[in-house]
Each structure stands twice: as C-alpha cells, then as structure tokens.
Symmetry: C2
Subunit: 305 residues, 2 copies
Amino acid sequence: MEERDLQNLSEKEFIEQYQQTEKDKYEKPSITTDMVIFTIDTEKVSDKRKKAEKELQLLLIQRGGHPYKGDWALAGGFMGIDEDVDTAVQRELKEETGVDGVYAEQLYTWSAVNRDPRMRIVSVSYLALVDQEKLPPLRAGDDADDVRWFTVKDRVVDSWDEQSGSTIRRTEEIELELTSGEITVSATIERVTVTEGANTKTAVKVTKQDGIAFDHAEIILYSLERLRGKVNYTNIAFNLVGEEFTLPDLQQVYEVILGRNLNKVQFRRHVEDMVLDTGRELRTGAYRPSKLYKYNAAWVHNQLK
Amino acid sequence: MEERDLQNLSEKEFIEQYQQTEKDKYEKPSITTDMVIFTIDTEKVSDKRKKAEKELQLLLIQRGGHPYKGDWALAGGFMGIDEDVDTAVQRELKEETGVDGVYAEQLYTWSAVNRDPRMRIVSVSYLALVDQEKLPPLRAGDDADDVRWFTVKDRVVDSWDEQSGSTIRRTEEIELELTSGEITVSATIERVTVTEGANTKTAVKVTKQDGIAFDHAEIILYSLERLRGKVNYTNIAFNLVGEEFTLPDLQQVYEVILGRNLNKVQFRRHVEDMVLDTGRELRTGAYRPSKLYKYNAAWVHNQLK
DNA sequence: GTAATAGTGTCTGTTAGACAGTATTAG
DNA sequence: CTAATACTGTCTAACAGACACTATTAC
C-alpha cells in the first residue's frame, strides 16, 4: 500500500502537520444538545371531592429570536469545544432548570441536512427526568421569551397496513398535543414502517406543526416512546418521585407514563424487589395511610435490553 | 424581554445576517461515523466428524496512517456537509463492504474531548448486521493497510460490589478479544456502576488495549451488549441469516450472539410467530433434513422496548 | 357505623424451562 | 439395523392479569 508523504513523519510530527493543514479542510457542522425534560406534576384540583390526578409534563422554551420566533422549543444549546456532550447537557440543564445531577440519558442524534435554517446543526438529544419537588421556580433565560411546563398528550389517530407482495407498509398517524394553561401547541406525525423480508425501515414525517419549533415534535415523540419502553424493565420511573414515596403514588407515575391503568396487585408484584419499606407512613385523608417506601439500590435487572 | 438588534430583522434577513456573522463564531468539531459491522461465519472445520460451529465476527480495518498506525479500527468516515449521518453510514458501508442497504441502527454518539489526538471529533456509532453470504470479498481501501473479519470473544473476568451507606458501587472487569487467523487484538475494560438512591451512573474506562485504535474497544463492547439485548425481543437476528434458513441454523445464530446454549423447544416457541414454513427442506447429511423457513414480515413485537 | 383509600389472598390462563420421546435420513 | 440430527408432546414452575376480599383511617 502506498504511503502518503504525511505518513513518513513520526506520530507527533504528523499530528502537528495535520492540525495545520488538514484539520479544517472540510466544512463542519455545529453540535448542539436538545433536552427532553419530563417531570410528573400533580394536577391542581379545586373540587376537593375529586382525587388529584398526576400529569406528565415537559419543559419547553419560547423562542425569543429567529428562526421559529415565538414558537416553543426544547431546551438545549451548543456543545463547547472543550466539553463532551454529556457535560454540555448537565451544564445546560442546570442553567435552564437550576437542578444539578439529574437523570439524563442519551437518546438519539438528529442530523437531517435542513433541520435548522441557519446552518448545518447536528443535535444529540437527551431524555432527562426530574422530580418536581426538587425544582426551583422557572425563569426565562437570555434568548428565551418564556419557559413553561407543558402537559403531554399523544394518541394514534389512525393506523393502517398495506401489503404488496412480500412488502408490508404500515402507516401510523400520531397526534402530539402539549398544553400549558391557555397555551396549546401541537403536531401531527406520520410514521411509515416498511417491512421487506427481515429488513424494516421507518420514515417519520411531521405533516402539520403548530407552535413547535424545528424538528422538536419528532424528538419529543421519540423520547416519549423510549420513556414508555424503559419504564417496564428499568428503574427509570424512580427518577420522577422523591426519595420516599408511596406505592399508590408510584403506580400513578407508571400509569401516567404508560397512558393506561395498571392492576394494583400486578403492579405491586412488579416493583416488589425494587423498593424497601421505610417503616414510615403517609397520612393524606380520612382513610388508611400509605406506607412510605424508598428505592432499593441493590436491585438489578436481570437482562440488558 | 430585551431584543437584540439582529432580532429586529425579518426571518429571511436574520438568517442571511446570521450566516455572515454568527455561523462560524465558535470552533466546531468534526463529525464521523463508526460502524460496528457484525456477521456470522461458519467455522471451517477440517475434521468432518465435528459439526461446524458458527462464530460472531466483526469487521476491522488496519490503520495505514497516524495516529494508531498499524492498529485495528472500526470502519467509518467523515460525514459530508450535505448528507445526514444515516446516509453517511450507508455510503461508507457500501465503500467498505460492497453491500447496499444493510441493517444499520444508530447506537450512541461518542464525544470525549480527547478521543482523537488530531482534533475534536464527535462520532456517531452504528450497529450494522450483514449476511455473510451476500458479502463480496473484502479489499483494503485507500487509507487502510488491511481489512479483516475478527472473531469476537468477551468475558467478565471479575466483578465485585462495594457498599458504603446507601451507595452501591459495582465494578466489572471485562476482557475483549478479537481474533483473525494469526492476529489477535484485545482490550480490558473496567466498568464502574454507582447507584445512589434511584440514580445510577456508569463510568467506563479502557485499562489496557493492545492493537485496537482510539476508543473503539469501548464502542465494540457497547454494540455487543446492545446486540445481545435486542436479540431477545426484536427480529434483529434475521439480518444475519439468508432469505431462507433452517431453525437449527437460526438457533445457532442466537446462541453465538448470546454466548450460551438455548433450549430447543423454548427457542422454537420463541421464534414461532416470526417465521413462515417455505415447504422446502435442506439436506446436509446422513440424517433427517431440516425444514426451510423464511421471515414472517407480518410479525410485530407487542412492546416497544 | 360510613366513605374512602391501602393493601392482600387466591384463582386462572399464559409463558419459560426442561426432559424424554418420536421422525427422518444415509449408509 | 445404527448413528446422527430434526422435530414434538408434555410436565412443571414462574409470571401476568383479574377479582374479591380485608385493613385502616377521619368523621
């Protein structure tokens, strides 16, 4: 194999040479992080006869400048040249929410060529979960007009299959609706999954978006589904409750995430090994108090999934 | 909220202005893809009395230039400014292996500040699976000295827990060994998982590496574990067999990936809904022939995980 | 006592895991 | 027939899902 001139140098010389002549040969994209931060909030109910329901909420920031001025976007920001993406996320999270060391898991890297009209931006998205109780009050940052928690609702509006030969094409139309007080933003997402042999390819398209900036509707939906998947076989939900919690409360967290009611017995069996009885109780009304539990740090899930 | 001067422009004007003055204000990293391409190869056994065993293999490229000259690295390359990462991966895969449209799933984005001595490089890694039968013969590319398939072996050498208060610290020492004929490269990886309350943080460190370039040992281990996890609840393994296959063969693919033997009855029950009987048979020896199956495109897994 | 919510005992149907059997082939 | 591998019937233990029951509290 032929060696190029550069390769006859020592490694040290090569790197010096490279940094002078090769490093900026090609145009580079910018790297940002996008954070999908979820929390569970207890709905404020004036009617005392009704039980307060929990809600899954998501932090959005109203854009103060172009592009998508006035629309709502995920928190995030540029990665510094001297930090890695994980550090950038934790730094941004602290700047945006004031909380340190929250759960943040890397999700996916978004790189569509035109996802930002300003320039080429590749964004690494993170799923973050914070306990509402630990949060200080929100305040808008420099380049934001407003910051708010939005209640998340999504539903599959329509879904159908088409078959042609051995190819199956499944189309799903999904509606995402985010509400914060009088403000509602929404998007309609079309997901087409084509299965040909064992090969499955998924294409996602936002067909309508109202008040949501960039490709953030798609990122939010992706995070939501990942969160739902992980709830069942990891301890991820425990990041959304305080240090001590009751099982009815924990069950409600699961129910809100999954969007369906769970059977009490089965739920308790499911989390049995993940919790430890603190011996304390919580009295909240004219009925039997709940036991308070804490997370069992010794719990391990048997299988990597 | 105060508006900056830039923000008094129309969106179109803003973007033009931005691209002239703001776009390159900060130093940017380069973006590359790293591909962990697995295949299943049937071991060549000269002794005809022994049954041929399958092996999990992985494609590595010997570096022709600095840094890590002579070491083995994952295939990959720079993302062009006019393509997204998925396109870059498929392009590189075709260049490296000659195969079009293989299964490739985005895994994780690696961004440690010093992962490349030349400059700041953020790399999006992909897990790719190819069927050995479809592969044309390998040939080394421009900047590579050699390209080879390496048999993958990993094992947990040691593992222990330390508890201090409510914090549990689990340390695992993992050895990764890649062999191709007379060549063996290896790495020792130490993974420390600290659980504090519900919060679990994992730190991975390569403590020894011999013949493997960059942080690729860590990426390979990560991919291997993801592959193992996904085998159980997705159709991912079908990308490693041909269009038609026998159940004993498919079972061996599962066994090689998981690194343990599976029960035949249970395995067959597990894949029952994922396969279709073709009505054909495969004769390979002086015994009962196996039925040939193909993938059942109508299969859907119930749960997103 | 009642109303409301917390928590448990137990039945049932499904799935995972293992064993021992039968089936089919070449020679 | 034998040896070798493919495939199946069936037992058992574990788990998921549902229902009905008991327990504890404020009033």
